[in-house]
Symmetry: C2
Subunit: 349 residues, 2 copies
């Protein structure tokens, strides 16, 4: 349908000669609006083909049609894309999404869960913060019979569904790709290994080395954060070594970007001397002077599937018994930063 043809509440308001706010309230089943008006608005909206699914939802009672999403940060493409996936899937069902950022701080997470529960949210989607150890605030959601679906970063707790990617596979395939390019001294920039996602990427890295008979060297595993600077300083550290690496597999794109910047400064050729692969497939990776290989976590799909799991739970009215674990396979996007052989390998844009 053309954007212009879309029926809005203003069209309904004009047709009925009542305010748009009244139409909106009626559609949202606001108690301030009389049943008579509600009926009139709903009938007119239906006749004008106004967002059918939202209508169906509005007719149901006992629901706010709001869901909450808690993410560490919104300004990472991965998280904003998951949110987009959730919205695209839930919007036709009349749901609205409220977003909170934990900034990797468990105290924020606790307050946000309380706030969301107090606003009578219909469900919560959550990717836990790096500092979350104790899970009593998460258990509380279960006690309140509100569905909570983890995505990406989760806690293994009974009663909760989750949608994650196979991070082991992501780490394994990125490392094996580097080995296939002829690299033998492969460094891993790891994230915080207390977090499952980063531990699994590191395990995948080590498994690929092992499979191909390459040694696992402690000095080649460096913990970085998600800042550009941490990648640059890791390179400075590594270039002090006698035996310099010939590849970097970074658990994050920003540290990989910092590594590339520092390698260039040192006149190290990429990919001839050192191949680099990142993780997350942030949009900047493909616009770089030297487009960077990265592991795509299929965030849009992740969000859509998380939303589908939620809809199943709500539909089944068995919010406490459904516990679904979905694991997606990440996609390695090979670009110039690690394409030594120069084969025409299909890459995901």
């Amino acid at each position: 349908m053309n954007e212009k043809d879309k029926v809005t509440i203003y069209d309904i308001s004009e047709k009925l000669n009542i305010s748009a706010a009244t139409v909106s309230r009626a559609l949202n089943d606001n108690p301030k609006i009389s049943i008579k008006t509600k009926e009139l608005v709903l009938k007119t909206a239906a006749a004008m083909n106004y967002k059918q699914n939202r209508l169906a939802q509005a007719l149901k009672s006992g629901k706010t049609n709001n869901v909450g999403v808690i993410v560490p940060y919104i300004d990472r493409n991965f998280f904003s894309s998951v949110i987009r996936g959730i919205e695209e899937e839930l919007s036709p069902h009349g749901y609205h999404v409220i977003i909170c950022q934990s900034h990797e701080d468990v105290t924020n997470e606790i307050t946000q869960i309380n706030t969301l529960l107090n606003t009578q949210i219909d469900g919560i989607f959550m990717s836990i913060s790096k500092t979350t150890q104790d899970t009593s605030h998460i258990q509380k959601v279960l006690q309140e019979k509100t569905p909570l679906i983890f995505f990406d970063r989760k806690k293994d707790l009974p009663g909760f569904s989750s949608v994650t990617i196979d991070d082991f596979n992501g780490g394994f395939s990125a490392t094996e790709h580097l080995i296939n390019q002829g690299c033998t001294k492969i460094v891993h920039f790891s994230g915080d290994l207390n977090l499952d996602i980063y531990k699994n990427r590191c395990d995948g890295y080590m498994a690929a080395l092992k499979k191909h008979g390459l040694p696992i060297r402690k000095e080649y595993i460096i913990q970085v954060n998600s800042k550009i600077e941490s990648g640059a300083s890791a390179i400075s550290e590594l270039w002090e070594l006698e035996d310099k690496p010939d590849a970097i597999f970074s658990a994050g794109d920003y540290a990989a970007l910092g590594a590339i910047q520092e390698l260039k400064r040192r006149k190290v050729r990429i990919p001839e001397d050192v191949c680099v692969v990142g993780f997350s497939n942030e949009p900047f990776t493909k616009y770089m002077e030297l487009p960077m290989s990265s592991v795509d976590q299929t965030p849009l799909e992740m969000g859509k599937i998380a939303a589908q799991v939620f809809l199943e739970q709500v539909k089944g009215k068995q919010t406490l018994t459904i516990e679904k674990k979905v694991v997606l396979t990440p996609e390695l996007c090979i670009r110039d930063s690690s394409n030594r052989i120069g084969k025409a390998i299909p890459t995901v844009a």
Copy 2:
């Protein structure tokens, strides 16, 4: 549960051997209480199944310590940076931020304002959607005596404060910079001219042409959207012309990126044949093969100032009488895509 059995802050205070006032402050996220104590209190309260009656609390103090932010999209660096600025400024004052995306749809905006008002939010920060014409939902916020501060995209309504940038200045200085590079046939990719920000950028462009005695040519003003593809197809359209342009000033970075990609495909040299300047200073602009000039809207500062305006209003308890209009000056970041003369002009990273 029996009223008598209800866990109170006194039970928590006894258990932890700290004062009830401290427990209360910790539960209300008072900045005077250390994060360590807050965490301890929150965990103990959760373990004891303490239920804070948030609404009662809010009625007592008249505050929930939650503010809402409504933006068109969170996955644009500009908006996520403004939100970060708001959070950085409000967090030390004990406020939490709830975020909603309108997706440029006024019906979402209406529902979100209703949701936020229903959760007894202390204030709303908002950048209006492209489709917002009627403002009754915004007026409603004023009626409910909740402060609403516009940022970037605003409606000129009495009683509302706003923090914006001088878009005219941004358009003027970008265009004048192109003229200084020797360009005389400058195209403008405009956004939706119904939105003040885009109209002002276009006015700035025309004023610079006029000042330097250059003609304003209708066929050189092309409306694009914020997608890469729209910039590419605008170039295809322009290259049908007899008189091809020698510069592009785009009101958005994504359309400028699309233009650069299409110009390269056509073997047009940048900046020798055509100079390109974008708007927003998205992070990808500086990592591009050819780093792109762009106008920085100082979003972090915008968010911080919007938060300061809010704090003034709340502090003054005169939410209805304060009406503050702050206008920030944007910063032109000159990079390779428009640096023909090759002067060492200081650029903002």
